[in-house]
Symmetry: C2
Subunit: 310 residues, 2 copies
């Protein structure tokens, strides 16, 4: 049986191009087709070519008149598409500043759709190669993180009841990760914001994946629960978000009906950890250098014995 190629990874490296400044809008198409010209007026639309056969046009750097009409841009794009197809290009990316949004409408008449949009610009894409589109998608998940702050001295855990829920169930304080925020940092921050309790990250305990999430604009939700250790104990909870906040016995949380299935499940997991050692339930964190960037990433997994470690 032949292996089928998904090939989405092929386009992963295309993206840095979307941030590069050199794109052009020239009066005549460049002779070689690869060196972008730059001129005011209604010349040919040109873009930068990547090694996957995609073309990226940054409209903000293309020298387009600020008041270019949808029909003029549509004509430019039509001509360019004919040229790019003849050249064997497989994909076209348009980065459209919000002030030139009318160009997105014009592009849609040629089959372009939104790939994503952020703040002050939208990115549209069109597959013009053979067969099915192999364009990569955009981010699909939001990350929510909760912190189970366990007081090992008395077997209690910090729980809250949301103010804005119809059912007042005990749960671990938590919320959405900010862009660029590490999982553990979200847990510590949200616990403090909701309860006033300072804590430190110990481990990752569980991960839940849920699709078509109503709180995620129909996208997917990843809900991660971390184990934290308390640094302070006094509760000063946020009355805007929470109705109640308490240090509750884990044994109580494990059996009460006033909680969510996942919280009850985690209470039992934590009880098991409290009795037999948290090393049986924890995923530890290590930072490792990223190969390509020199930056660090955070990796979570079960412990490896020192003898095997490296």
């Amino acid at each position: 049986m032949a292996a089928v190629s998904s090939s989405r990874s092929l386009f992963k490296l295309l993206l840095p191009l979307l941030r590069e400044p050199v794109r052009a809008f020239s009066r005549t198409a460049p002779a070689g087709g690869s060196v972008p010209h730059r001129a005011e007026g209604t010349g040919a639309l040109t873009g930068a070519v990547d090694r996957f056969g995609g073309v990226t046009v940054q409209l903000s750097d293309a020298g387009l008149p600020a008041d270019i009409s949808e029909s003029v841009f549509s004509d430019l794009l039509r001509d360019a598409l004919v040229r790019w197809k003849a050249e064997g290009k497989v994909a076209v990316w348009l980065r459209v500043p919000i002030s030139l949004s009318r160009c997105a409408a014009a592009a849609s008449t040629h089959g372009f759709t939104f790939h994503h949009a952020r703040h002050d610009h939208a990115v549209l894409a069109l597959w013009i190669g053979e067969g099915q589109s192999r364009l990569p998608g955009f981010a699909t998940h939001q990350i929510g993180v909760a912190g189970a702050v366990v007081d090992e001295s008395n077997g209690k855990v910090l729980v809250v009841q949301d103010r804005n829920k119809t059912m007042n169930a005990w749960k671990f304080p938590g919320g959405l990760s900010d862009p660029g925020e590490n999982i553990g940092a979200t847990a510590v921050r949200e616990v403090f914001e909701e309860t006033g309790v300072r804590s430190e990250f110990r481990s990752l305990l569980s991960l839940r994946q849920q699709h078509n999430h109503p709180g995620a604009f129909g996208m997917s939700d990843m809900y991660i629960i971390c184990r934290l250790s308390p640094l302070t104990y006094d509760i000063n909870f946020c009355t805007q978000e929470c109705l109640r906040c308490e240090w509750l016995e884990l044994t109580e949380l494990a059996k009460t009906s006033d909680t969510t299935p996942i919280t009850a499940r985690l209470a039992r997991l934590l009880l098991h950890g409290l009795e037999r050692g948290f090393d049986g339930i924890d995923l530890g964190l290590e930072e490792l250098p990223a190969v390509y960037s020199g930056m660090f990433y955070q990796l979570y997994h079960r412990p490896i014995p020192q003898t095997l470690k490296s």
Copy 2:
């Protein structure tokens, strides 16, 4: 010390509104301010109000002329903003079909920015309440999944070398999750697409979080490695994506320099599992019903003894 409210969760429930059809563009503002009128022409822009004090306007259902100009829409929006602010609204959401994209440019002159865009529409937002914006963000992470298919009979694992990388390092086959696809399903699919080997999901082994990822349009990347069991053994690898594909000894993968740090790390974790039992390194999967939807979600965590299970 006062607990600070993040309150992003407050807006989570606002989103289903973005899919509701009843929005209006009326010649006169509704008397009560809450029942939307509908009329062709250039009347007042109205929207649906949610319980968080946000207003959602669906431009596709607002009865706007298809050729409405940026300046006419801008005027409508200006008047509506004055009204919504006077009414104490805190946020405005505009859902803009791609064909009316010029309205996004007009909205940007009033401070609106893109919240997100997908396929044929963009969603813009503006915070008009007191203080800092409490609007929730959009999806921040792409999910990549790799499958470590371990042949327990001989201690070998299935590895590939990418065709499109400068360094030819052994790694586990994998790729990006499709929208709505479960983690285990991505692993099994990608392994088959890249190697031709059929397998089944056993457990989640590790999770890596990396921000500002060049392959994720500058967003964050979550890379999850699963343990799989082989159902077939013959390799028929995808020559478009892979340069090589082999069943390699885990002991060899753990010590070779021709691999990535994370793959070497996971090889050692798997060796440990092979020697002492995979129950020491696995996060198991269970499906639980979602409280609000009747749908199921997938939860991964360490095992809980039967006596504590429920």
